[in-house]
Symmetry: C2
Subunit: 200 residues, 2 copies
């Protein structure tokens, strides 16, 4: 690990702390003790705490391919299996944290009740990039899905299932809630594929 700049250190620590404790519950002091920096250094790089958040959201946005999609997909080729492999990566995150933490973007999206325009747009952009990746999978599935299917809506539905499943698993501290949600989504995809086949 190369000696990272103050900026990188802060972003790295903030990504973890915001995920663990949320934005409001993470104090500047938390970030300083974690990074071994002083407040002046932090404020030299980021004008305010919100700018740290913006940096974090930009890092998630720019890293979605290599940090999330690539590790989740590995050698998987089948487009529909790629969707469920991504969902399985979230499952692993849930299990790893004993059902305490879920999707960092989703948590922030619900925690920040009146975010600035810039923050809200970054949250939205993160969601959009996520669903765009799913959309590509759906497109690649081609004729296995019915002709008339709304690809945008279906991709957003996958995100919905992930976020809703994560929320319930976290609340009940039980992955089974996530698993049942994904099983239902799988059933939905199976039904779609069956109808596509029937019409062919």
């Amino acid at each position: 690990m190369a000696p990272s700049s103050a900026r990188e250190k802060i972003i790295h620590a903030a990504m973890e702390l915001f995920w663990l404790k949320g934005y409001n519950s993470t104090s500047i002091a938390d970030l300083l003790s974690r990074t071994q920096l002083n407040s002046g250094s932090l404020y030299h790089v980021f004008p305010s705490k919100q700018d740290v958040l913006i940096g974090v959201l930009e890092a998630y946005r720019d890293g979605i391919e290599e940090m999330l999609l690539a590790p989740a997909w590995g050698e998987i080729d089948d487009p529909i299996e790629k969707i469920f492999a991504l969902l399985n990566a979230y499952r692993a995150m849930i299990v790893e944290s004993d059902c305490a933490y879920g999707c960092p973007i989703g948590s922030l999206a619900l925690e920040l009740h009146e975010p600035d325009l810039q923050v809200r747009e970054l949250l939205a952009h993160n969601f959009t990039k996520w669903t765009a990746a799913i959309e590509l999978c759906i497109e690649a599935a081609g004729k296995r899905l019915p002709r008339g299917v709304d690809k945008v809506a279906l991709a957003q539905f996958v995100l919905t299932a992930m976020e809703g499943g994560v929320m319930q698993a976290r609340t009940h501290r039980d992955v089974a809630y996530f698993d049942r949600t994904i099983a239902q989504l799988r059933a939905h995809f199976d039904l779609l594929q069956a109808t596509a086949k029937a019409k062919a």
Copy 2:
């Protein structure tokens, strides 16, 4: 409106403020100015801020029938339509708040990162009562749904769709994201009903 007790005033104000601003961002001072009470009065009724939260979650839990289900269902009899009528009630909440606020329980569930056991159990209980109501609808739908369908999982899937749809609508400040999610859920129910019919 009868002269309510201090306890009722605080719970009422807290339900609104926690919904609008979240738990952490709502200060005791906010509650006091809203209720025109003094801090001593509040702490005479609730030992701590967390006890206010507990009171709020109990109020939601105990009021789900008459505050949520009854108004949403009105004169609707068809069990499957009752499900979508409930979802439509959430849609109305989203629109009314200009896509700023969603499900109060879901927001709290994601905002509180390390809640006490009692708080977590109350959050979970709220979800459970919600899905139990959906489960009754699914059961009432009887043979319109396939025999082997997992009723518990399907009910939780409805909650998933609601929470995920609300989250996206809030983040994008656009109800269309909620609508697309519900449309997908409707498609899922339609497919289930079609297969139930085909097998009959």
